[in-house]
Symmetry: C2
DNA sequence: CGGGGGTTTGAGTCCGTTCAAAATACGTGG
DNA sequence: CCACGTATTTTGAACGGACTCAAACCCCCG
């Protein structure tokens, strides 16, 4: 919060490591040139906000490094962190731009990050000249929609414990180190309140659920690191909701 | 259920009333011809299923008349009806096609419907020749994503009663008759269990919430028709969650 | 060694669920 | 038009999971 924001580090789209795995992979050299010239880049400290709920959408954000979350918050302080956290290579804020709406959530920096900003004029220009880029965004948005719908289902039909197990699996695939004997170590990039906000619950409830999982030997939590002795039994946890 | 499925009624895309309000409005005459020639049309009775969860996606569905819902169901019988119900002019099943996934929900006919089917080959062909169509789908998918995210927020932060109030407002804008003195009459197109599935609760709980709303004079339920004496007070209900 | 933030624990409450029964609406045939 | 059987909706009582509020705890850092 109190830290100063370093000016744009010299990041170049052409040498960006994530380019080939992102939607921008379909751009021609010339279009890449346009993108590179019109982007601005910046370092953001944990806790900073990229955009606020109800803000008009000025463009999209490319995460070069770090982690960003989208939070929707209520008047009484309650909040949710929406499903997909934006890590290196992710694009952020495309939804309101493409839907022609304002931002419906606040983008909050969860870990110190380096982020590029691309103004909406540039995005529209690229979109109108290269249809393939639109198809890429279409795929991304459709995927995200599927995940959001899954989350709706989970919130109404799965217990808190199962939702946490589910989140763990997703996190493991992204941040975990999975050894071939089934043991897993995971370093969560989230505080407890944020973890709670991701599964739609209060920190206290999450804490209790965690204690039970530890008691059952499924997952051992110690601060932000999680030890899972047997990945299979974690998966079993997910599929055995409502059984005996 | 037991009724026979009438063969394709003679529906013509060129004379379709919904064309100009749907994503297809961007098609050229020639493309419309292609669409019209390759679609198949069919009447579906209430209770029928257009596609099942985990089915591969064979194409998309255009609702000409009626109402279709997407249901995700759990092993123990619990289920959710996802936000946007597909009525006349809506397109269905585009998400899995564009995301390259299987269907993640079951499409269930809620009211007798007439539906056109467009095979994925045709859709891909149209998409590749007319980028504007892709942009239309992009807008639709982005809107849907926003609504899904709103629903996630509601499920975790709003009481059942407020969620019902919220759904009522959405339904009123779509199916209700709103007279200028604030009185509203709404004919719900849903059974109680389906209404419950839309707000992520059990029918019994919905019934109780309804009783309270009636007791407070906010909305009077009688079967599937709802009488709202003052639309403003219904809106107030939504914004006053967690106050006193 | 003494804060201080983040995390855990505890006790009590509330909302929504569960299971079972009653009431109401609905469609059909007499 | 009414009687009957079925399906849907409502009600009731008991239960349970997650919440609230508050206090205790822990770990990290100064």
């Amino acid at each position: 919060m109190g830290r100063d924001k370093p000016a744009a580090p010299g990041i170049n789209c052409f040498t960006c490591q994530h380019r080939n795995r992102s939607e921008w992979c379909v751009l021609s050299a010339q279009e890449m040139e346009q993108l590179n010239a019109n982007k601005t880049c910046r370092a953001h400290a944990k806790g900073e906000v990229l955009f606020h709920e109800d803000d008009p959408c000025l463009g999209i954000y490319c995460v070069e490094d770090g982690l960003i979350g989208i939070r929707k918050s209520a008047a009484d302080g309650g909040s949710v962190l929406l499903g997909r956290l934006a890590g290196p290579g992710s694009t952020l804020g495309y939804r309101p731009l493409l839907a022609g709406e304002t931002h419906h959530g606040t983008a909050e920096v969860l870990k110190d990050s380096t982020v590029c900003f691309i103004g909406k004029d540039t995005v529209w220009d690229l979109l109108s000249h290269n249809p393939a880029l639109g198809m890429e965004f279409l795929r991304i948005a459709s995927r995200a929609l599927g995940e959001a719908e899954d989350e709706i289902f989970q919130l109404t039909n799965l217990s808190l414990r199962t939702r946490i197990a589910h989140l763990l699996v997703v996190m493991i695939r992204r941040f975990g180190t999975l050894s071939d004997d089934g043991r897993v170590v995971l370093e969560l990039p989230l505080s407890r309140p944020d973890l709670a906000a991701m599964v739609g619950a209060r920190p206290e409830s999450v804490s209790r659920a965690i204690r039970e999982m530890t008691a059952d030997g499924v997952a051992y939590f110690s601060g932000r690191t999680v030890n899972i002795p047997d990945f299979e039994s974690l998966l079993r946890e997910i599929h055995h909701e409502g059984h005996i």
